[in-house]
Amino acid sequence: MTVLKVRDLRIRYADNQPEILKGISFDVEDSDFMAIIGPSGAGKSTLIRCINRLVEPTSGSIELFGQDVLALKGTALRQLRRNVGMIFQEFNLINRMSVMDNVLSGRLGYTGNLRSLFRAFPQSDISRALALLDRVGLSDHVNKRADELSGGQRQRVGIARALMQQPKLLLLDEPTSALDPKISREVMGLIREIASELRVPALCNIHDVQLAKESCNRIIGLQDGYKKFDGETGTLRDRDLEEIYAMEVL
């Protein structure tokens, strides 16, 4: 079943600047763990941020869970965002807050202003946060400050925060680029595992082609704002890679 339909997506930040995305279309099925590969500057981050409207596209359409994303405003947009978990390249944690508070902040979309003000999250959220921290292997670090952790641990906090949202889609923006190769594979493996356990589809920007081939079932190749490849991982040939990374080869 199709979760996400993107059609002819275009974006430019200002009138006098070139288009970043030049008419991208693709679908994500509910069983997909899909990679977006491409050289830096190809528009991967922008594409993924359009889907939960952290970035406003110029034209095109995005249909998520049967809803027209680009028509949403205010509360409806926030309700959509809370159904979409996002994991960031640089973790985007609140450094001065504890690990637990960072994970609980994943529930803010479900929490009223008064409860937010006193950081008084309901008991069910607290139990869920503890269970998730246990799942990502951080039970011993619950009350530490986020900036006391190592890179791999911080990304695990990021994962737990995204899962707190009980997401129906995961957006992963280069989740392992800030980590060293060994930790990268561990973290990617953990995300892959949890996504299949919870049966959540995922859309993942990834720079490392090898890692993409290992962890994803479908791959989209972007180059300079154009889609150059879209298919099962097994069908990706070296010729396709050459085309996607043409700029870098030259």
Partner: protein, 273 residues
């Protein structure tokens, strides 16, 4: 040799540059001293009636009057000292409340509107700092009458500029990544501010508030000079009744309060940061 000529030429060029720089510095100092001489002439020579001061003996005599401490004033100092301290505290807290919207308006990245609120916020910051606390106090005394309230308001208004300026700068320099994360989980504007921005700026803001509070104790001690209560009023009365020993007592009380403030702010700063 040709290469030697070039070297000499370069040295000569550098020497000329150095000479030029010295000349420029000399010119600047000459202007400063000429200006200084004019200021000295205008204020101290023209405007001072030396015969009335009465030479060194006269000055020493006037100074001596301040040394006969009037300990009988001690009980009368307790309440004004407490009042001064309280006015500083309440004024600082009120100033913080006023600073919140001003900092919000005046921070370029979160301001609700760039064309109206942003310049308005910036203007309030400048206005608050460029009006001296005594003038603020005069304005509020004429608006709400005598008492502690005009002092509190004057201190609050005078504090807004510095607190909100530093806060706005801190907001402008925040790391945007946590803000993006809170927006991505579906947080509303309040949650973005409270979880994304506030944790990043609060150490800076608290240090600034403590710094300002420390200065406000000094300011609070003079509010009474224009009718706003506290130690300033006692000072004014002692001065008007020519009780110079009493004046010294008031100054000692002010010093005590300020030392207390320094010590407290030192510990507060440690506790907070």
């Amino acid at each position: 040799m040709a290469s030697l000529d070039i070297d000499i030429g370069r040295v000569e060029g550098q020497r000329a540059l150095v000479r030029q720089r010295h000349l420029k510095m000399a010119a600047i100092w000459a202007v400063v001293f000429a200006f200084l001489a004019w200021c000295f002439h205008g204020t101290i020579i023209q405007d001072t009636d030396w015969s009335r001061i009465g030479g060194a003996n006269g000055v020493l005599g006037s100074l001596g009057r301040f040394l006969a401490l009037d300990f009988s004033l001690l009980p009368e100092l307790v309440i004004p000292t407490i009042e001064t301290f309280m006015v500083a505290c309440v004024g600082t807290v009120l100033g913080c409340f006023f600073s919140l919207p001003v900092a919000w308006f005046g921070a370029a990245n979160v301001t609700p509107n760039r064309f109206f609120f942003y310049p308005a916020g910036r203007f309030l910051m400048v206005l608050s700092r460029s009006v001296h606390e005594i003038i603020w106090a005069l304005i509020f005394v004429s608006a709400v009458g005598l008492g502690a309230l005009p002092g509190i308001l004057a201190i609050a208004m005078r504090s807004v500029g510095f607190i909100s300026k530093i806060t706005a700068e801190a907001i402008e320099n925040i790391d945007k990544k946590p803000v993006e994360a809170i927006r991505a989980v579906g947080g509303n504007d309040f949650q973005v501010m409270y979880y994304g921005i506030l944790p990043q700026i609060y150490p800076v803001v608290l240090a600034t508030v403590i710094f300002e509070w420390d200065i406000n104790i000094r300011r609070s001690a003079v509010m009474g000079l224009v009718g706003a209560g506290g130690l300033g009023l006692t000072f004014f009365r002692q001065m008007n009744s020519f009780n110079y020993g009493g004046v010294t007592m008031v100054i000692l009380a002010i010093l005590l309060l300020i030392v207390l403030g320094e010590v407290l702010s030192h510990f507060l700063r440690k506790a907070v940061i």
